[in-house]
């Protein structure tokens, strides 16, 4: 078991290093260097002398060889120094720290609800296989994985928000400030994320349950973060997904880089934990 864990951890670390390489070099492939974008953002492109540009380039470490830049960025990941956002003029670590809890709140809530409902319905449909219950839940689940999350969000906003005035249609309030408001605001976004994720679980569970529930849970976590980008846009929730999309438009490459990296790390580490717990639960895996 120990050897298995060590082997999985070793592979996990290699994968994480490859992820940092992909993210770093993908952003460096941007047309034009980041400095030009930065200067453009300041509206100072005409007024800056070559010497001033050179000084800025030096300040941001962009005059060093690319591998050196990578290593200093990589080193910064460990000290929490992710750089400064050129759009928000704020430390990226702090910026992500503010947005992340919001996405986590939305994501974890959807994740827990989706798994609870998904497992229950999956079990129920499994027991009553071949009956109308099975057929109905399969069809509903198939609709659930095909409905675009953002469109489902819009349908909910239209019906429950604009027509029936039951729920607020956008925004986010921290549960520590106003729990009731926070819950009301999250009902529709959570429903959007949970419906899709739950449906995947049911569809897979009905395909013979060969893929165990924990693997699906690991998969679900990635889906929640991917889906959060869309759902946060529809409901104007200031989470990490919305931050990433805005940063893409603002060409704020440091934020896109760090945000994507943080999410990829979380997904990979949780998949690693799934793998390890899996080896624990099923000894055949360890020696396979």
């Amino acid at each position: 078991m120990i050897t298995y864990i060590i082997r999985r951890l070793f592979i996990g670390i290699i994968v994480l290093i490859i992820v940092t390489l992909i993210v770093f070099f993908a952003m460096r492939l941007l047309p034009g260097d980041p400095l030009t974008i930065f200067i453009g953002q300041q509206g100072a492109s005409g007024t800056m002398s070559e010497a001033q540009k050179e000084a800025l380039r030096h300040e941001y470490g962009l005059d060093k060889p690319i591998m050196m830049q990578y290593f200093s960025w990589f080193g910064g990941l460990f000290t929490g120094d992710l750089g400064t956002s050129i759009y928000y003029h704020e430390d990226v670590g702090k910026l992500l720290g503010k947005r992340f809890p919001i996405t986590l709140h939305l994501g974890l809530l959807s994740f827990v609800i989706a798994n609870l409902v998904g497992i229950l319905l999956g079990l129920f449909a499994g027991i009553r296989r071949g009956t109308w219950i099975d057929a109905t839940s399969t069809t509903l689940a198939n609709i659930g994985i095909t409905i675009p999350q953002f469109w489902l969000g819009i349908l909910l906003i239209y019906s429950l928000g604009l027509k029936l005035h039951l729920l607020p249609i956008y925004g986010y309030t921290s549960p520590f400030d106003d729990l009731w408001m926070s819950t009301k605001q999250l009902i529709m976004p959570v429903a959007c994320l949970a419906v899709t994720e739950r449906s995947v679980i049911i569809v897979h569970a009905l395909k013979n349950s060969l893929i165990p529930v924990i693997t699906l849970m690991g998969l679900g976590l990635g889906m929640v973060f991917g889906g959060a980008v869309l759902v946060e846009t529809v409901f104007a929730i200031p989470g990490i997904g919305r931050l990433l999309v805005n940063s893409v438009f603002a060409q704020d490459y440091v934020v896109v880089q760090s945000g994507t990296l943080v999410i990829a790390f979380i997904v990979i580490i949780s998949n690693l934990l799934v793998d390890i717990s899996y080896g624990w639960l099923d000894p055949r895996i360890r020696y396979g």
């Binding site: 992820v19 980008v229 893409v248």
Partner: protein, 297 residues
């Protein structure tokens, strides 16, 4: 024809014609598969014949008719630029199909080659390729596509590139697993003993035996790609107006949800129907080609 075989007393593999019949019987048996085929046929027809089917120019509208409600003149109304929604829906089918097919085919080819090479050679080659695929899989698909689109910018080619890279590891992983299992068969060993080289073994023996699951995977992925393209276009990162993409149409209509709900309802429904159709046909193909794949794909 069948009698000839049975009279000889051999209970060999059934003749080919039966294989096809078995396939079509299973495939066409389900109503949802038929429904899927009908939807896809309509979609392909509207994509190919868009210029003849669309009543108006999808890109340039009449500003006097901006945000028109549905009427006999504009069956589904118009958007802010006075562009006919129905015409844009028809042209949107073209966008969705092009992105879906080009992305799936390119990702499938690259992914298959990588998975085949990794599985066949093993060792360090396997290590390098598969860990890189694991790393790509660590990103939620939409986020990876977002990262790549941030680098490349918007537009149809860049959406195709972004989504191809994002879906490639899935094919590589499935192909890798299939190669590992096919490689262990006796006929491969016999082939090797007769002196076949690596390339020949891979192309004429391993590849054909992995085709059925790969075909099913490609069909199922088509729906996923169309959904992801719609998501990217919805975010404004994929295909932007005046380009006709269902995802960006939903976003554009969202601003006029109270006055013109159809503007975002109609394209959303189109996305859902097409993705549903691809999934149903994919499921049907899987059960008809190889029922053992149930639970794996």
């Amino acid at each position: 024809m069948q009698d000839v075989n049975t009279e000889t007393g051999f209970i060999e593999a059934p003749p080919r014609v039966n294989e096809w019949r078995r396939f079509s019987r299973v495939f066409f048996q389900r109503k949802l598969v038929i429904f899927g085929l009908v939807v896809l046929t309509l979609m392909v027809i509207s994509a190919i014949f868009a210029p003849w089917l669309a009543p108006y120019d999808p890109y340039v509208g009449n500003l006097d008719d901006s945000l028109a409600q549905p009427s006999w003149k504009y069956l589904l109304g118009t958007d802010i630029g006075g562009r006919d929604t129905l015409s844009r829906l028809i042209y949107g089918a073209r966008t969705a199909l092009i992105v879906g097919f080009v992305t799936t085919v390119s990702a499938a080819i690259v992914g298959t080659v990588l998975g085949l090479v990794a599985g066949f050679f093993g060792g360090i080659i396997n290590m390098v390729i598969m860990r890189a695929m694991d790393a790509l899989m660590g990103f939620p698909m939409l986020l990876l596509a977002l990262l790549i689109s941030a680098v490349l910018g918007s537009g149809i080619q860049n959406v195709i590139i972004a989504l191809s890279v994002a879906t490639l590891p899935g094919y590589a992983r499935v192909m890798h697993g299939l190669t590992l299992s096919v490689r262990e068969n006796d006929y491969i060993m016999a082939e090797r003993a007769m002196g076949a080289n690596n390339l020949r073994t891979m192309l004429s023996h391993i590849l054909p035996n992995t085709l059925p699951p790969m075909i099913v995977l490609v069909t199922l992925q088509l729906g996923t790609i169309i959904l992801a393209e719609a998501g990217l276009s919805f975010l404004g990162i994929g295909i932007r107006p005046p380009g006709a993409a269902w995802g960006s149409m939903v976003y554009d209509g969202y601003r006029f949800l109270i006055s013109n709900p159809l503007l975002s309802f109609a394209p959303g429904l189109a996305i859902m129907l097409v993705v549903f159709a691809f999934n149903m046909v994919g499921d049907g193909l899987r059960d008809a080609l190889d029922p053992r794949l149930r639970g794996i794909l």
